[in-house]
Symmetry: C2
């Protein structure tokens, strides 16, 4: 019912922090046994619920969002394969946001006892988990900057760069293209733009030859130019692979 390949993304991601030993990987796999498959647009975690499990996205796109008083929803983060959410969230009485899927998603749900056990037993893993929560926090701050200080065009360019870099970090890009299974209206939720305006910006980008987005596939034709639009600086993603002194082989491939 679960394949080894499930957690490839997770391992690739964590190895941006520290190289994992075979035992680390085995421990990780043993804990990711219970995998659920969810359809697109389903709810994984509901705001206000008691926090129970650690969720690891194995495949597909999901998002964190907050519901507004007026019923609208604001995305406050994107969850990609390899993202492990809320390692310590059991400390809180209730979830302060919801998590929903954007595409079909395969997710491993780890009881927090198992997570605690894992962190006690494998210090390298523990370190990598903390690293990944710090990165998420950094991304959240970048989103504040994004919706706060950038034009629609810059925002969208920034989001595309972020998604591409994050997917690249877990080996899920093919050349200059990657998945992006969001409707224009969902892009609007992420960027705080109306669907109409998303559409216009998108056409402008296509027209400029920067990207194409069709069939849930994003292709970046001119990455330097795209990066240049918002002044994208990938350091906030902490993917430079030197977070751990013991990190050596940065370019090994699976």
């Amino acid at each position: 019912m679960f394949q080894k390949s499930s957690i490839t993304s997770l391992i690739r991601k964590l190895e941006h922090c520290a190289l994992l030993s075979p035992e680390d990987k085995r421990a990780l796999e043993s804990v990711c046994g219970s995998v659920r498959q969810l359809p697109a647009r389903s709810i994984l975690v509901t705001e206000g619920d008691p926090a129970q499990r650690v969720n690891v996205i194995l495949e597909g796109f999901a998002c964190r969002f907050r519901l507004q008083a007026d019923g609208r929803r604001q995305m406050v983060g994107l969850l990609l394969p390899g993202d492990m959410c809320d390692i310590r969230v059991c400390i809180l009485k209730h979830m302060d946001h919801s998590i929903g899927t954007l595409s079909p998603v395969r997710v491993a749900q780890i009881p927090h006892e198992s997570a605690d056990w894992l962190m006690e037993r494998c210090p390298r893993l523990a370190r990598a988990f903390w690293w990944s929560t710090l990165v998420e926090e950094s991304i959240a701050r970048e989103w504040v900057v994004n919706v706060g200080h950038r034009t629609a065009f810059e925002r969208m360019a920034h989001l595309f760069c972020e998604v591409f870099e994050r997917l690249h970090a877990v080996g899920l890009t093919r050349g200059d293209t990657c998945d992006l299974p969001l409707t224009q209206s969902e892009l609007g939720d992420a960027l705080s733009l109306s669907a109409v305006h998303v559409n216009r910006v998108l056409m402008e980008m296509r027209h400029n030859g920067l990207i194409t987005l069709r069939n849930q596939q994003l292709t970046i034709h001119d990455y330097p130019a795209l990066r240049n639009v918002p002044g994208f600086d990938p350091r906030y993603l902490h993917l430079d692979g030197t977070n751990d002194p013991s990190f050596r082989a940065q370019e090994q491939t699976g």
Copy 2:
């Protein structure tokens, strides 16, 4: 050179997660020995620097901010007395944002070895520290919502509610008033608004009898109405005092 009263705010804040034992408090005090006094508008931590210490704000207001390519700065978080920043930040190679003071600030700087020692020795403290970083993350997400989905008027009302609640949680409000030592231009940085527009919204709020803001003092005349403007829901601050099962006495006063 340091008074017991220094860490009152910190203790009051952490006790929203779990009641601390006298030993916990003593350990905390012993570690906050080295206190620095900084003038307003000084830099505490610079983006890109190696992450070294844990900073605890004892007195005054500070903020996290990111510098933009165009030199403008976007505030991505407010640090109030009792806020302990970046407990685990030593995992990252470099800081992904800067921290600066808004008013004169007294800050305790804890070497991360001491922080680790503290967390090993006092599990209740460790738990409270994690709680506080999760709360900060939650606040960061709320800021995304704030600048993303709310009008200038709602944004400002929301920020005022947040600051008041957070200060109230550490016993730093007097009746319906609290400190707010930000210029209108700094408020603009926090809310992603121009200083001019901040001014106009402020006047409207005053005119509506909601608040007054003078001499760095915020007075909220009609809290229910103010809360109602953005639909402020304080749950994201996790201050309900029930995060820990052992929590009992919620209303004890120092």
